[in-house]
């Protein structure tokens, strides 16, 4: 197989959520001396197709979860082949589910996709009090703070966190993105967030763009 064929296969297996096939293709690419950067590019192409299929409702959350898992494993294969200094952080993100809410599947999908794209993510988990968000933002100095909630009752907590960031003088230093089913763009704005993610995939896209801009 030519390098081009190996890379195309990599993109296809990734796009098809073929776990074993993608990892095998990664190993084949490394064995044939293809640069890890090109492999990452091919995988990213696969991820782009996954995003398109998700938007088209051909893929569902289950596929996004698996895509994140495949990318995580693929990175483990590629890591030893990167030369020192070649691995850079795409951006820094802090994420958590707000206090009173234990739903985290959407948040976890975003985290796993961000990690697979080279972001450094601090996952605060679920039921996170406002104070902990503030402390972590102060300590980690992220580009983006992401908050998630599934319950109507807990969504206002996002506003409390944003107000706590303001009180701590940190609001201007971090972009805030919120996501969760009870939200919409208007509500997110009212809460004081900078961005609203309609779904996990859009959340990742927004974070990528925000970090690229900054």
């Amino acid at each position: 197989m030519t390098d081009g064929e190996v890379l195309r296969k990599l993109t296809k297996t990734m796009a098809d959520i073929d776990f074993e096939g993608t990892l095998k293709a990664c190993e084949d690419a490394m064995a044939t001396g293809i640069s890890p950067a090109k492999v990452v590019e091919a995988l990213s192409d696969g991820m782009r197709i996954i995003g398109e299929r998700f938007e088209a409702k051909e893929y569902f959350l289950s596929e996004l979860i698996m895509a994140g898992e495949i990318m995580k494993e693929a990175q483990e294969i590629l890591k030893p082949h990167f030369e020192a200094g070649q691995i850079t952080t795409a951006g820094r993100v802090v994420m958590g589910t707000v206090e009173g809410d234990l739903h985290d599947i959407g948040k976890n999908i975003v985290i796993s996709l961000l990690l697979s794209m080279g972001f450094e993510v601090t996952d605060l988990g679920v039921n996170v009090p406002a104070g902990r968000f503030v402390e972590t933002v102060r300590k980690v100095e992220p580009d983006v703070l992401g908050m998630s909630a599934l319950l109507r009752a807990t969504v206002p907590e996002m506003g409390n966190v944003i107000r706590a960031l303001e009180a701590a003088g940190l609001r201007g230093k971090v972009k805030v993105i919120v996501g969760g089913l009870p939200l919409n763009a208007e509500y997110a704005k009212k809460l004081g967030a900078d961005y609203y993610a309609e779904d996990a995939w859009k959340g990742v896209e927004i974070i990528r763009k925000v970090v690229e801009k900054s």
Partner: protein, 360 residues
Amino acid sequence: MRSVEDLIELHRAWWKLENERPLLNVVYREDFPWMWLQSDHIHGMELVLKDGSLAKDGPLTPDMLSPEKMHPTTFTHGDLFLPVMPYGKIPWLEAICGVTPQVSVKGNSIWAGFGEGIWPQDWWERDMEVKINKDWLDLLVGTTRYCVEKFSDKFFIAQTSIMRGPVDIMAGLVGDKNVIVGMYRHPEETKKLLDKLADICIMVMKAQNDVIPRYRGGYVNTWGIWAPGTVTRNQEDGAAYLSPALYKEFLQPIDRKIAQAFDYTAIHFHSAHYIHGDAVTDIEELGALQYSLEPPPYGPTLKEWIPILKRLIKKKPLILNGWNLTREQINMLLKELPPQGLYLETYVQEAGESHYVYRE
């Protein structure tokens, strides 16, 4: 107010898609009527007037009342019976399978763990033995028995209202994400575990039925629908994350297994599960499908729902809970869907209408 006999016949016809008018339950209050009945402190008793309507604010005079209406032999609301049941917010099934429930006062909920699971990451390589927490099982059965002893002279007793299904219990054991990973990477072990959990669900459901007295040879389910045989309901909340293909491969067989174990079953889905409606209604043994019609972005708009529901109701009776519907939307549902097999439960109060968020 309809007589017990009328309701029994209406429900009997509904299960067979032969009812001539839809079953309706219009709730005027903030809470579900049966929520009042979940503790031994019964409050909010609704007073039915002579003309069959409910008493409203204002003066009450003797001519508005009749002994028959004030002392019904069985308590009903709309076209359903009001069952008393063990407290429904507890994730009973997960607790029985060893996952400690977690109370969240702010979230007004009780969750089955924190989504991370209690089993080791390599669960599929182990014996996958589910240790039954007998204390939780005894508490559920004991509470059901208490309801029978205390209330069955005036009310129907039903199984607890929330019994989450095998995929939810699996998520409690192995973690949310690992359910999906298991389906992709360890499909045989995942199927084996789900099958085992379906058996536990059936055992717990039967344990409750064993202490609930039959009425006219049947039971009343958690939605207050009488059936001429054994009833149960289950749900698969975690299916909301799954593609239709994964549902069909992994969950349809176990939902079928549960449906086969009882005469009249119903499965509870949320709006996000709309993609699984066809597969679940293909389960021949399933009695009915219940959808909670949460507004977008939880699921489709009502306009998008209509063709889906029209298709599904040809196969199975539908229980539709529309808590955020406007009167226009209620009318649209009643106009577009055939009465046969339709059961609509909804609020029609100012508060409900003012916070409706359906957007066409």
